[in-house]
């Protein structure tokens, strides 16, 4: 791939139009707009929108821009209201966007039909996760998610009550680098041993951390897991689905971060899950050990830890990442605490792990701005990738398959 994919502002504009104004993008979770009148301010690609639960129970996604003079209608992050009223000249709207009324209505010509808030044409939900698309037609959300619907299935199936609730607010990361770097790095299994060496070594120097309080134990186990040898990373499977989605397998094998834990809290949780699913399905749900599930183009889901990262491109060299958590309804509260602590440690801008990733993205951006080697090599593992009969490609952990797959998908959406 040419370095321009990360640095050229005209390619960035093309990405906004061809990818972020066409693809299905995540806009929120059903638990955030549970009751009629609930609404949140969110983003659909480059555009700010209002996601609202209507009186009839349906969902609306409206441009957050008054149909009169263009003022932002909703400025709080969330609210509960039967109607939305613009603060400028008090045009008011129903939650489906239609206009209720305007002041001094008799000042308009009788044949003048005043507009309402513009709605985004397609909004669909899959197991509580709400996506939208600026494109009026195209594949359904179900087909778009394709084989990686399994990421959401596994996350929801982990909840003993069968539902999730978003909780804990969010952590927000920012870096001066291209948005694609974050997603490439999320399934890159060669970097941890180098980029995260300082946190691996620091944890090794403090073996007592492994027997300290639960927060410290979890952190130490997480830091140490990044210190595997290159050959061990090869045992982590990579799976690339048609449509651009990718998952990597799990690599947390010990302690409270392992897939199958043996502590008292987990035993209580497992019992609740068996009551819902029965023993066989519970064992199947819990045995799914994946780390990051990447849904094209811009989200990463970790079902085991109930966390989602939404990558938001601001400019060719500027990105924000929102990190949000989901609680497994019906699970012991200690499970939710562990989720929050895991996310603090793994995803905060002050994380001993993530801070070095952010530094590397900024160094890549600086480097790529410089001419020299114009072409980026991403051919490692090309000889070991295996195409399956169902159209997916699988490989071993150290292959650069994910990057090749992301760029193939990118080229197709970009029309290049």
């Amino acid at each position: 791939m040419h370095r321009a994919a990360y640095t050229d502002p005209t390619l960035f504009e093309r990405e906004q139009e061809r990818i972020f104004r066409r693809a299905w993008l995540y806009v929120g979770h059903e638990s955030e707009v549970a009751k009629p009148g609930d609404h949140i301010r969110t983003r659909l690609g480059p555009d700010e929108v209002i996601l609202a639960r209507r009186e009839d129970g349906g969902l609306s996604l409206l441009h957050n821009r008054c149909a009169h003079r263009g003022a932002r209608v909703v400025s709080e992050p969330s609210g509960q209201a039967r109607q939305l009223r613009c603060p400028y000249h008090a045009w008011s709207y129903r939650l489906d966007g239609s206009l209720i009324g305007v002041p001094l209505a008799d000042g308009y010509s009788p044949d003048r039909r005043l507009p309402g808030l513009d709605a985004v044409p397609r909004v669909e939900s899959y197991r509580g996760f709400i996506f939208a698309s600026h494109a009026a037609s195209g594949a359904s959300l179900f087909d778009f998610l394709g084989g990686l619907r399994s990421a959401f299935d596994n996350l929801v199936d982990r909840a003993p009550a069968g539902t999730l609730t978003r909780f804990g607010g969010s952590l927000r990361l920012e870096y001066r680098g291209n948005w694609k770097m974050f997603l490439e790095n999320a399934v890159d299994l060669v970097h941890p041993g180098f980029v995260h060496k300082s946190s691996v070594d620091a944890a090794r120097a403090h073996p007592e951390a492994l027997t300290a309080d639960a927060v410290t134990q979890q952190a130490a186990q997480m830091f140490l897991a990044n210190g595997m040898r290159a050959t061990q990373w090869d045992d982590v499977p990579l799976h690339a689905f048609p449509g651009g989605h990718i998952y990597m397998g799990g690599f947390y094998k010990q302690g409270i971060i392992a897939a199958e834990r043996e502590d008292a809290v987990f035993a209580r949780y497992r019992k609740a899950l068996v009551e819902r699913h029965g023993e066989e399905k519970t064992a199947a749900v819990l045995s799914v050990d994946r780390f990051n599930n990447l849904i094209w183009p811009n989200i990463s889901v970790n079902a085991r830890f109930g966390v989602m990262r939404i990558v938001r491109p601001l400019a060719v060299d500027h990105t924000v990442v929102d990190v949000v958590c989901f609680q497994l309804d019906g699970a012991p509260p200690e499970m939710h605490e562990l989720t929050l602590q895991f996310v603090n440690l793994a995803a905060s801008p002050a994380s001993l792990v993530a801070s070095d990733d952010l530094e590397i993205f900024e160094r890549c951006q600086r480097g790529l701005a410089t001419p020299g080697n114009e072409w980026i090599d991403m051919s490692r593992g090309v000889l070991v990738d295996q195409r399956q009969a169902d159209g997916a490609t699988v490989s071993r952990g150290t292959s650069e398959l994910p990057m090749r797959h992301q760029f193939e998908t990118w080229k197709s959406w970009m029309g290049l």
């Binding site: 804990g168 607010g169 969010s170 952590l171 927000r172 990361l173 920012e174 870096y175 001066r176 980029v195 060496k197 300082s198 946190s199 070594d201 620091a202 944890a203 120097a205 403090h206 007592e208 951390a209 300290a212 309080d213 927060v215 410290t216 952190a219 130490a220 830091f223 924000v320 990442v321 990190v323 958590c325 509260p333 939710h336 605490e337 929050l340 602590q341 996310v343 603090n344 905060s348 801008p349 002050a350 001993l352 993530a354 801070s355 070095d356 952010l358 530094e359 590397i360 900024e362 160094r363």
Partner: protein, 148 residues
């Protein structure tokens, strides 16, 4: 100057002088260092935190700060912790904090209010809780590598 006030000022200076091991020694064994994301956040269970670390974990953070392979501190930051408006109430201090940070040609700043809860022991005052409430805890941040 009040002993508590002097302690708070010294704590900030140790960070600016990158004397992280001495800084860590100011924390009691049961201490907590906390930077919440939400204004008036009551507990780490309520919401995510930028940092929520018992001393045992803070020790790992300080250990990392001494390592050359800590890419986000290569080269290291230079900081000024400007502490003012200190109000002392027994072993507790509240203050206003502005941190200016310069690294690799760029400057940025953080602002917030700090709560120190201290305990007097055989070795003098020690921190039980240092809580930093940033004015923009919920906003996007670039990598935060040195303690605030």
């Amino acid at each position: 100057m009040n002993e508590v006030e002097a302690f708070v000022l010294r704590e900030a200076r140790l960070l600016d002088e990158q004397r992280y091991v001495e800084w860590l020694e100011l924390f009691a064994d049961d201490a907590l260092y906390w930077i919440p994301t939400r204004a008036k956040q009551e507990s780490p269970q309520e919401a995510l935190s930028i940092i929520y670390e018992p001393r045992s974990l803070l020790a790992v953070r300080v250990e990392r700060l001494a390592r050359r392979e800590m890419h986000v501190q290569s080269p290291p930051s230079r900081t000024v912790h400007h502490v003012s408006a200190i109000e002392v109430n027994g072993d507790e201090a509240r203050s206003a904090l502005i941190v200016a940070e310069w690294r690799t040609g760029e400057a940025r700043w953080f602002a917030g209010r700090v709560t120190h809860k201290l305990r007097k022991g055989a070795n003098g005052l020690r921190i039980i809780l240092k809580r930093v409430d940033l004015i923009d805890g919920e906003a996007p941040h670039r990598a935060i590598a040195v303690p605030l």
